[in-house]
Symmetry: C2
Subunit: 196 residues, 2 copies
């Protein structure tokens, strides 16, 4: 991780909660850089999630299994986003999901213990943490609503519009299961979309 600066992490923090550079640097104090190899897991189901990540470079996905035993992708984590199983992390309960690197990844990690400590010792961290959770809640809720209110085609084009790296680096079958459709259906959708 030689030469890995905190710039993007600092940008992320200041985007969640505007603050001075000095303050933002204090917030980053307990984050440390980690490389994750393609296909490696940063979390496995039934373990308790002990680490949260800020993704500097690369893509991860979380997934679980549905009723019929099919893999279902529950989220993508691209560069510039926050990656964790917050349910397991904060509630200290066994994870029901796997989180796996799809590409080689560079990330900033913070442990549960360090986060607790920062919460209690760094006021800016406390506020950042709270707003970060609100942001994660919003993402989840917005996704739930768009699943109800948009077609799979719209959700597909929105997804790859906002996160083009997903289309480039993620197999379509993962995208399909994220959208809640079969990979064959996504193929059909893409074919239709081409006509336009």
């Amino acid at each position: 991780m030689k030469g890995m600066t905190r710039d993007r992490l600092i940008d992320y923090i200041r985007q969640v909660l505007p603050m001075s550079l000095v303050q933002a640097m204090k917030v980053t104090v307990k984050f440390h850089p980690v490389p994750v190899e393609r296909n490696a897991y940063v979390l496995k189901a039934s373990a308790i999630c002990n680490t949260s990540y800020f993704v500097e470079q690369g893509v991860l996905r979380s997934y679980t299994y549905d009723l019929d035993g099919n893999e279902v992708t529950t989220a993508f984590f691209t560069s510039g986003t926050y990656c964790s199983d917050l349910l397991s992390f904060f509630k200290r309960t066994p994870a029901r999901e796997y989180i796996q690197a799809i590409t080689d990844v560079r990330a900033w990690a913070i442990s549960y213990a360090d986060m607790q400590e920062s919460f209690h010792t760094i006021p800016e961290f406390r506020e950042f943490g709270r707003l970060n959770i609100v942001g994660q809640y919003s993402l989840l809720k917005e996704r739930m609503l768009s699943n109800l209110q948009e077609t799979a085609e719209k959700r597909y084009s929105d997804l790859i519009g906002i996160y083009p790296e997903i289309l480039q680096q993620v197999p379509l079958k993962y995208i399909a299961s994220y959208l809640g459709i079969a990979d064959t259906s996504l193929s059909r959708i893409r074919k239709e979309a081409l006509k336009k």
Copy 2:
């Protein structure tokens, strides 16, 4: 609202974050009692949610419309739970949901401005608020996972097992749309369940 004590609100706060009775009472300072009549709305889509409620008595539901214009119930709020559109409330964005009382309701309300003030002046409130959001996030995520991983029948029996008042006070069509199935399908499920 004569004779309405803060006991249940205080219980809720101390269950989210254990603290002394005196501390918990301080946290409740900005909450004030409001009655809500059956069928009245506490939030309408496109408005910005300015109030959060703790439900003392009664049931509310939030709903929106899907692609085909069908009403979809997105949540129930029973007595002893926290009721708000957190996405709209914290992000100050127009709500995409309606929140309506299904029965007459007694609730404790807090405005956005008062909550912000309490966040900054009452340390216990700050911590309660943070844990409350984590709790709401967890509810949403757990629901997402159970939608993937359990049958509609299991989700139905879980729901009415945990919140029996819903079965007693809520029309089945609302429960069906909450479960993501047609009301006729819920009828089929209930008929099957009776055989056991």
